[in-house]
Symmetry: C3
Subunit: 140 residues, 3 copies
């Protein structure tokens, strides 16, 4: 069984945002898989995907604070035409990565108790973000 | 052929630890695959997985030194309730990533000569860590 | 359908280099897949793979500048036998990661408009680099 689909994530401000529900809600066929995998590619170079804490919003705020501090806007960048937040966004995107592969078991994503799919939006106005989702495995 | 299984990695102190043997030993069905893949998801947000040098323990020590320096415990964190090593652990986990996909060829993981599966334990007392392993591909 | 093959990337100097064409050119069977995935493992621990901007060379230059600044050669490293650029290379490789999984749709890699497969060469003289490529999915 193979399913491949584009999902458009709604625009979000700079920061780390939980999108587990938005992703899983767009993939009802997850329920048809007994054992399989779900791959997500964010088709952008100034935003990224990670798994991190799904409960405390403090963690997501601190993630942003650290990344903004480690990859500052004031730095000897040469690529500056697209705005102060652009080149830091490219670096942060490569540090966190554009894609995730997640196990599926008995019709659900087999994440840890505290893990949530997290959109890392590194631009101030990144707009909607597109994900190519691919599901494959053994049907129930 | 699809195999999916939880593997519990034994508790380890903060640092970078080779776990190739522990993982492969828990997946004897690797030997049945001619061409395929092995996916590993660590179900935690304060530890992570990487591939790095499997020979010199110096490399693993220096990895820890750099990460502890780049993501310090003294920082304007707001999420501090779970201990000084908690929020740095979440950042380090997102920098290194919770999952790996590895090629399988003729019954073995097709890693480079110097590559080893490395558990990045970012907590002082992280306890046992759980991995969901998924194998799929063409049988021999 | 399963295809697995080693690809040798030509030697490149330290920096970030677009290799989408070199990779796709070595995988003509991409054209035979309707829906599937392409997995790439770089079998080294001092170079890595990422997706980033495929147009402006400024972005690739700035990526190098930031990584060289964040992971400097002057640092209390203990693993120094293989040269000043070696231990920073191991850290940078773990920050960016050795592998990518990419969706395939209608015979082509389904990357974003601005995404290119990027070899992150962290050594001054890394030599040729080996990738294990695995393709699988539904034929057209």
């Amino acid at each position: 069984m193979w399913i491949q689909r584009e999902i458009e994530l709604e625009p979000r401000p700079r920061g780390f945002h939980l999108v587990t529900g938005e992703i899983a809600g767009a993939l009802p066929e997850l329920g048809e898989l007994r054992t399989g995998l779900c791959h997500l590619l964010l088709q952008h170079t100034s935003a990224s995907l990670t798994l991190n804490e799904n409960a405390s919003p403090d963690v997501r705020r601190d993630l942003r604070t650290w990344f903004d501090s480690a990859v500052p806007e004031r730095f000897p960048w040469t690529h500056t035409l697209e705005g102060d937040d652009d080149m830091p966004a490219h670096v942060k995107a490569t540090l966190t990565g554009p894609e995730l592969t997640l196990p599926v078991r008995d019709g659900r994503l087999a994440l840890g108790t505290w893990q949530g799919i997290t959109l890392c939006e590194h631009r101030d106005r990144g707009g909607p973000r597109r994900v190519v989702a691919t599901l494959w495995g053994e049907p129930r």
